[in-house]
């Protein structure tokens, strides 16, 4: 008995993880019309007593809450007596009704039954009733009987397979393998054994008098056909007509990530994920198929049905504006990646069109884990890791700096005269970077009864930053419950609650901690003898404060509480028509506190200040969906979805600050100087009202047609264009299902897809259409009176940015899908990009109306290849994805070029006919070697001397000025390539993940300062090779404080190749053999060690070539501005399920 139970558990687990979903689609199958018709035909008026087998099975499935899997072809035309459905035991009933119909069933687990033809009863032709239990051979003379034993293992893992069905093809007798994968049965010596197991390719082995037959079974990829989540539903992968990439739980778990967005990195073709900041919980930008808007290029996330925009502004506040820049915190880091079951990335218009006005940048569907009925599982996951900076930038030590200072300083420093007496001085990089820990714990409980299932989890994640003073922690909980009220009514919920706490160290800016650590002089100590923070030295007055002190003394804490909740009810109106309604909400409370203590360090001092900011947002959504599914005749399957949805968002913010608190110990506003207090606040709201429908039509399972239509009404659209219509259509042909391909054994799958559709981007600001007023100060009688004038010219026609996409795709599976190739080519044309119109100043200096006028085109190729190189005891799988995207701005309307600004410097330019956001500036030709060369060359500046940079006179007018600027490079990669290898042997598995980005450029603004040689700040060691009279250089200009030639101007000098190959992840894991684990009452146990970003091969001179976009700004990509670098980490982890 005990053994049986265990078996059930294991089998069930497999069912759940890999098969249940696809089977369910079959299962909840829809009585077929023809069956009913034939019933009527044959049975005349006897409808009451007889029903079709399909109906009967469905009804039983519901009645006993069981999963019944059957092939519709087999049950077609078969009827059973209604009365025979009575009974207490499903097994008995099934036996009763199936046997006369020459059908049999096999029970897998508690609740799963597979209906199949009865074993061919060659020798029982005359027997009218068959029962496998009482079969005995009747033919004589009987061959000798022998006992056959053996072990059945998984060909991939070598692990014993438990519960494999072994059947004697002659007698029909069967047995199953035990806990150790062993079996034994008595059969005739010439019998043939059929080994079958769900999810594996069945094998028949003739016994041939052998008494021991060991066998390993191969998993059957086609049988395990996945069901993937699509917008407002799910679909078999084989039925897809659009471009969609899935990221599985397994892939998500391969490397420890704070946010789900980081986990997506490199996982899908056409999806470029870059971490805009490497700070813990830091910002990420995701670009699906290139940048198609100048406003935002981030996709829409749908988390358990709730749409979430990763707009880092709306759910978090930051004070970086006040400090002159920096990245906004990440709005998505509130979601715990450990709670995620799967992520689907919808890429083309056919896949995304159901999200209409929010789909232009692609859609990321996130599904969290749900419970399964049956045994309860408790799983515990944890990891601990350390992170470190993977590279330091070589800046001068004290001795080198003193040498440099002696050359360029304007006053002599006594101590610098004897270089050999000087030591290394302070290494400020060592001072601001650290080895940082991270830890993650997750406890998940799933389970449920026949009617109620649940998944509960709690998680804790803590990650220190590699920059001192920064860390991130998250406490999260999840409660997902599903309950069946009756056969027809199901209700449930998902609830994700989290609280994140982010300690921010100011970075990603030229006065950030990392940036200033590079520029701090090495003769300045971190701390004084008494332990207090030291300030800059008197001799070298710098504009920088001690970065260590700033990182540690300043409290900058952003706390967010997020509640994502969704409840649903699903009602079966007819077997072929389901109604579902959902109500969801997303509530975010964000609280950002900053405190600067008063200080006096060296010649630096400051007064204390406190800033507080509250951002609250509330979002709700209500959906009504009708899903229709019917197979008409044999060949026509129709699935239709009609939906209505309304959603509303509202937010408010409050800001207050005071200065000069009497003590650094108490940090509340009330203690500050009321005379200098500031406060501000505001609010906003928006709404969407949408109607949508989708029709999937499959003819003979090989001609697939999808049509989608969505109408979105948005409060953001002008009154003249309040509703947008977003249609799409796609067609797919599964050529491999055609008769003429069936003879090609090696061709497992061949599908051609073509799709076309229009979607939109509604992230155009809340009130772009509205005519706002500006407040002015009018003076009358020496008084200021507030007056109001129009601020802008309203365009009541403002609407979504439209994106029209065409997609061509091929899916190819060869050699039983051991080689799978997915190839997509797309043309994505964003037109109607919202840009300000160019208007004359006779319009009174009002801000111009935004008009839908710009056009951007992205064309690209995506290739995904998955291979199973070796299978058997050693298993080796390779996955590769390759993406190419070409971006071109077709039109900017009348707006003219768009400029991207960083550090108040125009760094990028977006021009028609060019990719978006290329670097723009002067071209460095070389270094003037002597004064003669200066005077012979085009005029640069009065102060230009030998040793200065010679810039190219691009327009040959003899003078270097604005007109000599040009495009210096593109931040967009030529292609990206990600390669992942999974090896397994026995219980061990190894994952190696390589990430490659090729052909992008980086504008390294840090070098403007560390190689700028302006002022007395510390410099990169390389400036030792600068131009000097006795040692001329052709690379590095002379040192000059005043920089009369503007050597530091934005030029090709600072543009670097950003290509890299990164060893993103190596994980080595060990899974305790199942049999052993089970003996210890553990379902599974896995131990692993892993390392992330162990090595990066690049020519880039900065910390990390992965730069991303600045605050998700589509115009500013790949600009190094003191970005918080991505760390290298080492992790050890343990996952256990009980």
């Amino acid at each position: 008995m005990e053994l049986n139970l265990q078996r059930t558990k294991i089998v069930q687990l497999r069912w759940e993880l890999r098969i249940l979903l696809p089977i369910l689609v079959f299962l909840l199958c829809f009585p077929n019309l023809q069956g009913q018709a034939s019933l009527t035909r044959y049975q005349g008026g006897a409808r009451d007593s007889n029903i079709t087998l399909a109906v009967a099975l469905n009804s039983l499935a519901k009645q006993y809450n069981a999963n019944l899997l059957f092939d519709p072809d087999q049950v077609k035309g078969k009827v059973v007596k209604k009365a025979s459905l009575q009974g207490k035991n499903l097994d008995v009933i099934l036996r009763k009704i199936l046997t006369p119909l020459r059908l049999d069933f096999r029970k897998v687990g508690n609740n799963n039954y597979i209906i199949k033809p009865a074993a061919p009863a060659v020798k029982k032709k005359k027997t009218s009733s068959l029962s496998p239990t009482d079969v005995s051979p009747r033919s004589t003379p009987a061959p000798a009987k022998i006992e056959v034993t053996g072990t059945i293992t998984d060909a991939e893992t070598g692990e014993p397979l438990i519960g494999v069905n072994i059947k004697d093809s002659k007698s029909g007798l069967g047995t199953a393998s035990d806990l150790d994968g062993q079996y034994s049965m008595v059969v005739e010596e010439n019998a043939t054994l059929l080994f079958s197991y769900i999810g594996y390719i069945a094998q028949s082995i003739p016994v041939r008098k052998r008494t021991r037959i060991n066998i390993s079974l191969n998993s059957d990829a086609t049988q395990l056909e996945e069901v993937v989540v699509v917008g407002y539903g799910s679909q078999k992968r084989s039925d897809l007509t659009g471009a969609l990439s899935s990221v599985t739980e397994k892939e998500l778990k391969q490397l420890p990530s704070t946010g789900l967005d980081q986990a997506l990195q490199g996982r899908a073709a056409g999806v470029l994920v870059t971490q805009n900041s490497g700070s813990p919980g830091g910002a990420v930008s995701i670009r699906i198929r290139g940048i198609g808007s100048t406003l935002t290029a981030e996709p829409l996330y749908v988390i358990d049905g709730i749409p979430v925009v990763n707009d880092n502004q709306s759910t978090s506040s930051n004070f970086s504006e006040l400090d002159g820049g920096g990245q906004n915190p990440n709005a998505l880091n509130t979601i715990n990646p450990s709670d995620i079951e799967s992520i689907e990335i919808l890429k083309d218009a056919s896949a995304t069109a159901i999200y209409g006005a929010r789909a232009a940048n692609g859609v990321v569907l996130i599904t969290t884990k749900r419970g399964k009925s049956g045994r309860s599982n408790i799983s515990f996951e944890s990891y601990y890791g350390v992170q470190e900076i993977s590279k330091k930038i070589p800046v001068m030590n004290l001795q080198q700096y003193a040498d440099y200072y002696n050359d360029i300083g304007w006053t002599q420093i006594e101590e610098f005269q004897n270089l050999e007496l000087l030591g290394e001085g302070t290494d400020w990089q060592d001072a601001v970077f650290r080895q940082a820990g991270m830890q993650n714990y997750q406890l998940t409980i799933t389970g449920g009864s026949e009617n109620t299932t649940f998944a509960l989890s709690g998680g804790y994640h803590h990650k220190e930053g590699i920059v001192i003073g920064s860390d991130f922690s998250r406490i999260s909980a999840k409660i997902n419950i599903d309950h069946k009220f009756s056969d027809r009514l199901k209700v449930g919920n998902s609830l994700l609650v989290s609280r994140t706490n982010e300690n921010i160290t100011f970075n990603d800016n030229s006065n950030g901690v990392i940036y200033t650590a590079l520029l701090m002089v090495p003769n300045s100590p971190v701390r004084n003898v008494d332990g207090s923070f030291a300030g800059p030295q008197e001799e070298i007055t710098l504009a920088f404060d001690n970065p260590v002190a700033r990182a540690l003394d300043t409290d900058d804490v952003n706390t967010k509480v997020r509640v994502l909740a969704n409840v649903y009810a699903e009602l079966e109106l007819f077997p072929w028509l389901k109604y579902r309604t959902e109500f969801g909400s997303d509530i975010v409370y964000s609280n950002h506190n900053t405190f600067f203590p008063s200080f006096e360090r060296g010649n630096f001092f400051g007064k204390s200040g406190v800033r507080r900011s509250l951002n609250n947002s509330l979002f709700w959504i209500n959906k009504h969906l009708l899903t229709f599914n019917k197979t008409i005749g044999e060949d026509h399957n129709l699935t239709a979805l009609a939906g209505f949805e309304v959603q509303e968002g509202r937010f408010e913010w409050l800001f207050a600050s005071r200065e000069n608190l009497p003590t650094n110990d108490l940090q509340q506003l009330v203690l500050g100087d009321a005379g200098q207090q500031q406060n501000n606040g505001g609010a906003g709201h928006w709404a969407l009202l949408s109607y949508f429908g989708r029709l999937n039509y499959a003819f003979k399972d090989r001609y697939l047609l999808t049509g989608t239509l969505r109408i979105d009404g948005s409060s953001r659209f002008g009154p003249n264009n309040r509703y947008g219509l977003f249609p799409s259509a796609a067609f797919a042909w599964r050529a491999s299902s055609e008769e003429f391909f069936k003879s090609f054994d090696d061709l497992s799958n061949l599908k051609f897809r073509i799709g076309y559709g229009a979607v939109g981007n509604q992230e155009i600001g809340l009130y772009s259409y509205s005519a706002n007023l500006r407040s002015l100060n009018t003076v009358l009688g020496n008084q200021l009176i507030t007056s109001f004038a129009p601020d802008n010219i309203a365009n009541p026609d403002v609407k979504w940015e439209s994106s029209v996409q065409t997609n061509f795709g091929v899916d190819l599976g060869l050699f039983k899908n051991r080689l799978e190739v997915v190839l997509d080519y797309y043309i994505k044309k964003a037109d109607g990009m919202l840009l300000p119109a160019l208007i004359p100043s006779t319009a009174g200096g009002l801000n111009p109306p935004f008009v839908n006028i710009g056009e951007i085109e992205n064309r690209g190729l995506e290739l995904t290849v998955r291979t199973q190189n070796i299978s058997g005891k050693v298993n080796w799988r390779t996955g590769l994805n390759f993406s190419v995207n070409r971006n071109e701005v077709i039109s900017l309307g009348s707006t003219g070029d768009l400029i991207g600004i960083v550090q108040r410097l125009p760094v990028t330019r977006t021009e028609e006919g060019q990719p978006i956001g290329q670097f723009y500036g002067y071209v460095m030709e070389g270094i003037f070697q002597d004064q003669a060369e200066v005077s012979e060359s085009p005029f640069q500046n009065d102060g230009t001397r030998a040793g200065d940079i010679k810039f190219a006179d691009l327009n040959n007018d003899g003078i270097i000025n604005d007109l000599d600027q040009t495009f210096l490079g593109s931040p967009h990669p030529d292609f990206t390539l990600n390669l992942t290898n999974d090896l397994s042997f026995k219980g061990f598995d190894l994952n190696v993940f390589l990430q490659g980005v090729y052909g992008n450029e980086i504008m390294n603004l840090i070098r403007r300062d560390i190689e700028g040689m302006a002022g007395l700040v510390n410099q990169a060691q390389i400036v030792d090779q600068r131009f000097r009279n006795l040692t001329p250089s052709t690379e590095i200009p002379r040192a000059t404080h005043t920089d009369p030639n503007f050597n530091r101007r934005i030029s090709s000098r600072f543009v670097e190749d950003g290509s890299f190959i990164r060893l993103r992840n190596i994980t080595l894991g060990y899974n305790l053999p199942k049999a052993k684990a089970l003996r210890w009452s553990i379902q599974s146990l896995r131990l692993y060690v892993s390392t992330q970003n162990l090595a990066t091969w690049t020519n880039y001179s900065g910390y990390d070539p992965e730069i991303g976009s600045y605050n998700q700004n589509p115009l500013v990509n790949g600009v190094e501005n003191g970005r918080y670098p991505t760390s290298r980490s080492y992790t050890i982890g343990l996952n256990a399920t009980f």
């Binding site: 309304v646 906003g684 007023l773 009688g781 200096g845």
Partner: protein, 492 residues
């Protein structure tokens, strides 16, 4: 069966009730939809139409733009913005040319918004007329500058709207003046004679009538000019201040009995609410103000080689009390500048290329003077202008020369206040000279020279390379680029 459809019915009901959810007006912003309803709203919008005049592009750099080409002033050094205007190498790209255009059209726009929105309110008619009169006055003052600077300009009388074509062609000079005269006529009828209390400084009947007189005079419609000027005089509420200097002294300058209209300023308010003229017109680095304020951007003209006697310093007759009010000369002591510190002595040798400097707008560092900002209002129309206009109209009616007691009576009021002898005959030359010294650096000289047809002759004599076409400024290039319906003035 009905039960089955209940959810669908609920959904359908929701659909119907949800439409209004999409109407989301901004929560923290006023919009044209929720404003312009009450008299208070309209008044607020009307006051906004006064702000372009407060802008540095109008009363700071804008006034400088009309002083440097004249024989009164020049830039303090090589100035990429103003030197081309000074030496008549100006073109459509010269920045002040575009800024002046833009700031004046801003006032036109703000006034047009009021006129447009006023029509749809239910404000009582008399009040409505006053609002309308004030808006039309503000529009007229902008167009009057525009037409005198650029000649034929686009004549826009409706607020800009996305539906309408934003690109207007140039109207004729005559059409522009027709609108100016209609606007000022309406304003003369409906504006109050005086404003009091908080409203002090808003346009009055006298403001409109005085400006209308000037418009007529510019159009050489001397009969109308005479009548309008006389009507102002007959209002009986204006008089010359006893002391010319008191028009520029903190205590007495603002909204005094001599003032028909002035741009209102306060000292240390928000940016754009203070008079920036001290910054532009005061000598650089001379410690006149506490904030090192004084950029020497604009100085009196330097003598020119072939005709050294054409500078503003030389223009004053001996004994003219206005001279020391207008310019600072070396070693002169000015007790009214920095009175808290005991006054100010202009240094030996002078702080400018012409050794003299402009005194009129320098108040020093009083307590209510801030960075780039003094509280003194900027005079647009003084009563002495009305007196001289009246005399000029009479003189022109009599052929450009007169000894009529009526004309001389008002003309001599101005001279007597300046401490000069009465004249018993005036002609065009005398009139031009008298206006030059009375209104030096008050943005009148350029207009007077052009109006008198003397600009080219006088400025050539002053050593400038002025051509006939320079009496009109160029149309801003950026504007021509955007609006193909515009044409450039001839010669540019």
């Amino acid at each position: 069966m009905m039960k089955k459809y209940t959810p669908i019915l609920i959904a359908a009901l929701l659909l119907m009730s949800c439409e209004s959810i999409l109407d989301k007006e901004p929560l923290d912003q006023l919009t044209t939809n929720n404003f312009y309803k009450t008299a208070r709203d309209i008044n607020s919008a009307l006051l906004a139409a006064y702000t372009p005049m407060q802008d540095v592009d109008w009363t700071g750099k804008g006034w400088m733009m009309l002083e440097v080409p004249s024989d009164n002033g020049q830039p303090g050094g090589t100035d990429p913005e103003f030197s081309p205007i000074d030496n008549f190498t100006v073109n459509g790209d010269t920045p002040p040319v575009g800024a002046y255009w833009a700031i004046h059209y801003r006032q036109v726009t703000y006034a047009n918004v009021v006129l447009d929105k006023l029509a749809n309110t239910e404000i009582e008619q008399t009040q409505k007329n006053t609002f309308e009169a004030e808006a039309r006055f503000l529009r007229a003052i902008a167009y009057f500058d525009l037409v005198r600077i650029y000649g034929p300009v686009p004549l826009i009388t409706t607020p800009p709207s996305y539906d309408e074509d934003l690109l207007f062609p140039r109207a004729s000079i005559n059409e522009v003046y027709t609108l100016i005269k209609e606007d000022l006529g309406f304003a003369s009828t409906h504006l109050p004679t005086v404003w009091t209390g908080q409203d002090l400084g808003r346009a009055t009947k006298g403001s409109a009538m005085g400006l209308l007189a000037k418009a007529h005079l510019t159009r050489r419609e001397f009969g109308e000019a005479r009548d309008r000027a006389k009507a102002v005089i007959d209002l009986g509420i204006y008089a010359l201040m006893d002391d010319y200097a008191s028009n520029w002294e903190l205590a007495t300058a603002d909204n005094n009995k001599e003032s028909l209209f002035e741009v209102q300023f306060t000292g240390c308010g928000a940016w754009g609410t203070g008079n920036s003229r001290q910054a532009f017109f005061a000598p650089w680095g001379e410690g006149i103000t506490k904030d090192r304020d004084g950029w020497g951007s604009h100085i009196p003209t330097s003598p020119v080689n072939n005709n050294p006697n054409t500078t503003i310093s030389d223009a004053f007759e001996t004994g003219d009390l206005r001279k020391d009010v207008t310019i600072m000369t070396p070693n002169t002591y000015y007790p009214s500048i920095n009175p808290e510190d005991g006054g100010y002595t202009y240094p030996q040798g002078g702080a400018s290329a012409s050794s003299v400097n402009i005194k009129k707008y320098v108040v020093g560092s009083a307590s209510n003077v801030c960075f780039m900002s003094t509280p003194i209002n900027a005079h647009v129309l003084r009563y002495s202008d009305v007196l001289l206009m009246y005399a000029e109209a009479l003189m022109e009616i009599q052929g450009g020369e007169t000894s009529s007691p009526e004309a001389l009576q008002y003309f001599n009021q101005v001279r007597e206040r300046a401490g000069l002898d009465k004249l018993d005959r005036i002609d065009r030359e005398i009139m031009l000279q008298e206006r030059r010294v009375e209104f030096a650096f008050e943005n009148q000289r350029w207009f007077d020279l052009v109006r008198a047809g003397k600009a080219v002759e006088t400025l050539t004599l002053h050593g400038k390379n002025i051509q006939d076409h320079h009496v009109l400024f160029p149309i801003p290039s950026a504007e021509l680029k955007i609006n193909p319906k515009l044409t450039q003035n001839p010669g540019y």
